[in-house]
């Protein structure tokens, strides 16, 4: 499956919420979409194209904006597809993919706590890797490493 086929099928379903499909080596392409139509894009990719397995969810802080990535895998086509959406840095939020792929739940918890991307309608959005009550998002560019003497041990321990 080539990126043109993906663009044709998805574009017929979601219209202008699809921003484009770029060719990406060794995958079916890299699909860029507007975040307000996320759930429709997810449903089309799963039900029309048959990408039934969510491999990973990731986030990147590009300082000017943030990018959320979904890598999905199709067992019948034996191909990957990358979904990506650009979010504004001051209001980085997108619809949760967990109704479509239940595997997204834990991946989105990790993406939220590390890169601070809010997932709407997530069933259980709490810390996965970091301790409860942790107030920082360590993979943001604005996060500064500090000497441990400056830390308040009581506040950071649970």
């Amino acid at each position: 499956m080539q990126s043109d086929d993906v663009a044709r099928t998805v574009g017929a379903q979601v219209g202008d919420r699809l921003l484009g499909v770029d060719p990406f080596p060794r995958t079916a392409g890299r699909l860029r979409f507007r975040p307000d139509g996320a759930l429709e894009v997810f449903r089309t990719v799963k039900e029309r194209l048959g990408f039934d397995h969510l491999s990973m969810v990731g986030g990147i802080d590009w300082v000017t904006h943030r990018e959320v990535l979904y890598v999905v895998w199709s067992d019948s086509r034996r191909q990957y597809l990358i979904l990506s959406a650009d979010l504004p840095a001051d209001a980085a939020r997108i619809e949760s993919a967990s109704p479509i792929w239940p595997a997204a739940e834990w991946h989105e918890r990790e993406t939220w706590e590390l890169v601070d991307i809010q997932f709407d309608h997530h069933p259980d959005l709490r810390h996965l890797l970091l301790p409860d009550g942790y107030e920082f998002h360590p993979l943001l560019r604005s996060f500064k490493l500090h000497e441990p003497e400056e830390l308040e041990v009581k506040q950071r321990s649970v």
Partner: protein
């Protein structure tokens, strides 16, 4: 030149039985008819009151702390039971210290799987904030008296992850530590050396 070996004397051919019998073997003497247990009981009846008197005299002479405490310290330092758990790569060295090559059981160190049966916690690896309260729970479940060894650079002071966002900079922020072992990771010899230094601390224990 050495003489050729002389063949051993043949057994006496007088006996026609199948069993071989050494020349000069003594005839079997019957054991006394008194059972073994009864002999020991008689000896114990004589020994126990004497031991009680001697123990009471020693107590009155030296005081309780000078006798009981060294006895407990001697028993405790020769039967240290560390908690059998692993946090990071130091746990590999921890495991090999109990294998056949280093064999820490010759010092009486036997890892136990339950904190209720342990008196020594060897923190072998990087302690993250996520695992910190589990470590404290395990430490609180261990019965007194108990000791902690920080094994490796990560447990001692955070190691290479000292400024990381998720790592406790030294396990002594969480629990009291008795012995620090340097190394990344320390070899099993270093771990055994740390435990022997802890045994020296237990020898001096007074309270």
């Amino acid at each position: 030149m050495s003489a050729p070996p002389v063949p051993a004397a043949a057994p006496p051919s007088g006996s026609s039985t199948d069993t071989y019998r050494l020349e000069g073997d003594l005839p079997m003497v019957d054991q006394p008819a008194v059972p073994f247990v009864e002999i020991e009981t008689v000896r114990a009846r004589e020994f126990i009151p004497a031991a009680k008197e001697a123990f009471a005299a020693l107590l009155a002479e030296q005081g309780q702390s000078k006798l009981i405490r060294p006895t407990f310290n001697w028993a405790g330092r020769n039967s240290l039971f560390p908690l059998h758990w692993g946090l990071a790569c130091c746990a590999i060295e921890f495991a090999s210290a109990f294998s056949a090559r280093w064999d820490s059981e010759r010092f009486g160190i036997v890892p136990r799987s339950s904190p209720r049966q342990c008196d020594l916690m060897i923190v072998n690896g990087t302690v993250t904030w996520k695992v910190a309260h589990k470590l404290i729970t395990l430490y609180e479940q261990m019965p007194e008296p108990k000791w902690v060894i920080a094994m490796g650079n990560c447990a001692t002071g955070g190691g290479p992850f000292r400024t990381a966002y998720s790592v406790v900079p030294g396990v002594d922020k969480l629990v009291p530590v008795d012995v620090y072992i340097a190394g990344c990771p320390p070899r099993p010899e270093a771990m055994i050396d740390g435990i022997l230094r802890l045994e020296e601390l237990i020898r001096e224990r007074r309270e």
